[in-house]
Structure formats: structure tokens, C-alpha cells
């Protein structure tokens, strides 16, 4: 009888631990290693690059169920192209309109997996009060323990593109390009 109880208890613990392992894990983005970079044509001569310095957000991942979700808020006034005067112009109503729309948000709708790793994020980008779908392709994804602080973390690189005119940002078209190349680096610590 006691053997039966022990076996039942062991089985219960096994199932519980598996469920625990398979539970969705939530990660909070590390703002010091999470940046949205962009590239845009300057009068067709070259591609100008810049990034947004401040962002926040989190992502959830369930490896067993192969599901994930991401939500990111980007401070539009944190745009940085390395030249303060150009950044002032980019913050103005001509482009980011940062006072009126201080935050750009990206919320995933579907994350597709290739094996045990996510590889495509489909989601909605809200910029200048307009929400449109933007798809990101994950080019690198890794979860593990950060050797510097022994904390569980995941990181990824992703790329995508969008047309600024879709969001009503039409100033200086077509001289300043319509299509923006997006390059994302993101890391998050497990909550």
C-alpha cells in the first residue's frame, strides 16, 4: 500500500515539474541591450542610420507549446542619429511628432517557430496614432544564463521593414526614403 502511495506521489511530482517547466516564461526587456535601429535612404545617395535609445517591454515564451508574444514601447523622443540638430528635426511634427506621440508601440499577434526557436514575429506597430502590421524575421535567438550575473535571460536579433507613409509620415517624400529598414537587438531577463 505504502509502495502504491509512493509511486502515485512520484508520478504527481513528475507531472507537476513537467508542467512547471512547460509554463510560459516572462522576460522583461533590458533597456541597455534593447535597441531599435533603422536605416533610411537620404536623397538616394546613401543610407542614413539611427536608433532609438530608450525602450521598455517584455516577452513571453512557452517552449513546450511553441508560443510566444512580445510587447515593446519605444520612446520616440529618444531618436538618435548622432547629430542633435537633425534629431530635433526628426522629433518635430515633420517626422516622429514626439510631443504629440511620445511612444511607439509594437505588439505581436503571432510568433512562428522553426523547431524550438521562434523565427518570425507578426505584429502591429503603432506610430503617429496609426496601427499597421509589421513582420519581423528573427535572425538569432538564444536563451541561457548570463555568465556575468548568473541570471536567466534570452536575447535575439531581428530585421524587418516598413513604409513610413503607411503611418502618415509623408514629409520630404520621396527625397528622404519611404522604406525604413529595421534592425532590432533585444535582451530580456526572466522575471
Amino acid at each position: 500500500m505504502s509502495r502504491l502511495i509512493t509511486l502515485t506521489l512520484a508520478a504527481f511530482l513528475l507531472v507537476s515539474s513537467h508542467q512547471l517547466l512547460a509554463a510560459p516564461e516572462r522576460y522583461t526587456l533590458d533597456p541597455t541591450h534593447t535597441y531599435l535601429h533603422f536605416g533610411i535612404s537620404h536623397l538616394g545617395f546613401s543610407t542614413m542610420h539611427g536608433r532609438f535609445d530608450q525602450s521598455s517591454g517584455h516577452f513571453m515564451i512557452d517552449n513546450a507549446a511553441k508560443t510566444a508574444s512580445v510587447k515593446v514601447n519605444i520612446e520616440s523622443a529618444s531618436i538618435n542619429t548622432g547629430l542633435e540638430k537633425r534629431d530635433d528635426h526628426l522629433r518635430s511634427p515633420d517626422f516622429m511628432n514626439s510631443v504629440e506621440f511620445p511612444v511607439v508601440t509594437y505588439q505581436s499577434t503571432t510568433v512562428r517557430f522553426d523547431g524550438d526557436k521562434p523565427y518570425v514575429i507578426e505584429g502591429n506597430l503603432t506610430l503617429l496614432g496609426v496601427t499597421k502590421p509589421v513582420t519581423l524575421t528573427i535572425t538569432g535567438f538564444k536563451c541561457g544564463t548570463n555568465p556575468m550575473n548568473n541570471r536567466a535571460m534570452c536575447g535575439m536579433d531581428a530585421v524587418g521593414s516598413m513604409k513610413r507613409s503607411d503611418f502618415g509620415m509623408t514629409y520630404a517624400l520621396p527625397g528622404v526614403g519611404d522604406e525604413l529598414k529595421l534592425i532590432i537587438e533585444a535582451e530580456g531577463y526572466k522575471d
Partner: protein
């Protein structure tokens, strides 16, 4: 000679100059064609719409502050002729216009103002209300005198346009230039014909609404210093400089233009002095 020609060609190639030229011709055409119907004041909105068509659009899906300014300008142009038709230049109408302008400024800027703390809300809110109310009263006083109204339009448009450009918004700057172009077109027609064009509130109400919203937008959304707003109010005051009635229309146009341009330069000089440099655009 060749150098001068190259400079001229460079200017013609500049998109800002092209848009300003289009606004000028739109205003010139409307002011001339509608003068017999006493609607030449619609030159202001014609110039503004030409600029909006070239550098922005008339898509109002997302009603941003900039889009609200366009809507307010269009509505003001529709309502303004009614004031000329229904009321003489009495004080009641003047106060009604000022109240409507205050309503417009609250409607346009409330989404940004409501996010500020109470002290900033009171400071910005009262500042904007006082600015547009004063502008409304000052411009309404010169509504029946087309030379004064058009020199005020030229001065305000140029001053707000250049100041907005220096404050990092080319879009708002070009909106200002459109108003300046309408004022110049109006003045040119009067100068050539040596006759006054019909003006009235059809001209000054859209002028008030557009200038009263573009300048605060440059302050709130871009980097226009707050002290430029009271300096802008000196421009319609300068357009009221007393002149002898014996002077010809041409001479009055010249004198008032020079006086107004001097006052228009003040906010620009202050911004240049403060920043010590030109903006990146």
C-alpha cells in the same frame, strides 16, 4: 553673371521655394478672380491649401495637431464670408470671433495640454488663449483696410514661417510661408492696380486662425521659444502704423511693408541670437 544664374537656378530647384511659388500663384489667381465677388480674401486659404497639397495631404484619418490646424483653417474660410455678409464691423462680432478662436486653440492643443501637470497646463493654456485672443482682436481691427491686413499677413506669415523653420519644423515653416505668399500676392495686386482689393473678415479670420495655431504648434511640438509669441503680436500692431490719407495706395503699401518687415524680423533675430547657429534641415 554665370554665378548669379547658378544661384537663381539652385533657388528654383529648392522644393521650399517651389511650394512657396505655387502658393503665391494660387493666392494671386484667387484674389484676382474673386475680387468682383468680394471674396478675394479667400486668397489666404488658396495659398495654404496649395502648400498642404504639396507637402502634406488632406487625409484626416489620424487627426493630429497638424491635421486639426488644416481643418480649422478650412472651417474658418467657410465661416468667414458669413461674417462679412451678416455683420458690419461691430464689437460683438469681434468678441464672437475671439471666443471661436479660443475654442479652436483648445480643441487643437488639448491632447497635448492634458498630459501636462496642473501648473504647466495653466501656464501653457492661458498663454495660448491670450495669444490667439489678442491676435484675433488686433487683426479684426484692420479687417476693413486691405493694405494693413495684407501687410500683416505677409509679416506674420514670414515671421512665423522662418521662426518655425529655425525651430526645427520645416512643415510648420512652410505653412507660415504660404500665408506670407498670400499677403504678398494681395499687396502686389494692390500695388500694380493702385486700387484697394476687397478684404474684410474673409481674409482676416482664416489669417487669425492659421497664424494663431501654427505659431503655438511650433512652440509646443518643435522648439520655438515661448517669447516669440508676444513678439508676433507686434506685427499686426506695426500694420496699424498711422499714415496720411493723402498718400497713394502704392506708397502706403511700400511704407507699411517696410515697417511690418522690420517687426517680422524681431522673433527671427531673437532665435538666431539664442541658438547662435542655423538649424539642420
Amino acid at each position: 553673371m554665370q554665378e548669379w544664374l547658378n544661384v537663381a537656378l539652385e533657388w528654383i530647384d529648392n522644393p521650399i521655394i517651389q511650394v512657396a511659388a505655387l502658393s503665391f500663384f494660387a493666392a494671386l489667381l484667387v484674389a484676382k478672380l474673386l475680387s468682383s465677388m468680394w471674396l478675394s480674401g479667400l486668397a489666404i486659404i488658396a495659398a495654404f491649401c496649395a502648400t498642404v497639397y504639396m507637402i502634406a495631404d488632406f487625409d484626416f484619418d489620424s487627426l493630429t495637431i497638424t491635421k486639426k490646424i488644416i481643418v480649422a483653417g478650412l472651417v474658418a474660410s467657410l465661416v468667414a464670408p458669413l461674417f462679412d455678409l451678416l455683420s458690419s464691423h461691430n464689437r460683438l462680432a469681434r468678441y464672437l470671433i475671439a471666443i471661436a478662436c479660443v475654442g479652436a486653440v483648445v480643441w487643437v492643443f488639448w491632447p497635448v495640454l492634458e498630459r501636462k501637470d496642473l501648473a504647466d497646463l495653466a501656464l501653457y493654456g492661458s498663454g495660448l488663449v491670450v495669444f490667439i485672443a489678442c491676435l484675433s482682436v488686433l487683426l479684426d481691427r484692420i479687417a476693413p483696410i486691405s493694405i494693413r491686413a495684407s501687410t500683416a499677413a505677409m509679416g506674420l506669415g514670414a515671421s512665423i514661417g522662418v521662426s518655425a523653420l529655425l525651430s526645427a519644423s520645416a512643415l510648420l515653416g512652410q505653412f507660415g510661408f504660404a500665408i506670407a505668399m498670400a499677403g504678398i500676392a494681395y499687396l502686389l495686386l494692390q500695388f500694380i492696380s493702385n486700387r484697394l482689393l476687397p478684404c474684410g473678415r474673409t481674409f482676416t479670420i482664416p489669417l487669425t486662425v492659421l497664424c494663431g495655431l501654427i505659431a503655438p504648434a511650433a512652440m509646443i511640438l518643435a522648439k520655438l521659444p515661448w517669447y516669440c509669441l508676444p513678439l508676433f503680436l507686434l506685427i499686426p500692431l506695426a500694420a496699424q502704423t498711422p499714415l496720411s490719407g493723402n498718400l497713394s495706395i502704392r506708397l502706403q503699401t511700400l511704407i507699411l511693408s517696410v515697417v511690418t518687415i522690420i517687426f517680422s524680423a524681431l522673433p527671427v533675430l531673437v532665435i538666431l541670437y539664442e541658438s547662435g547657429d542655423l538649424p539642420y534641415l
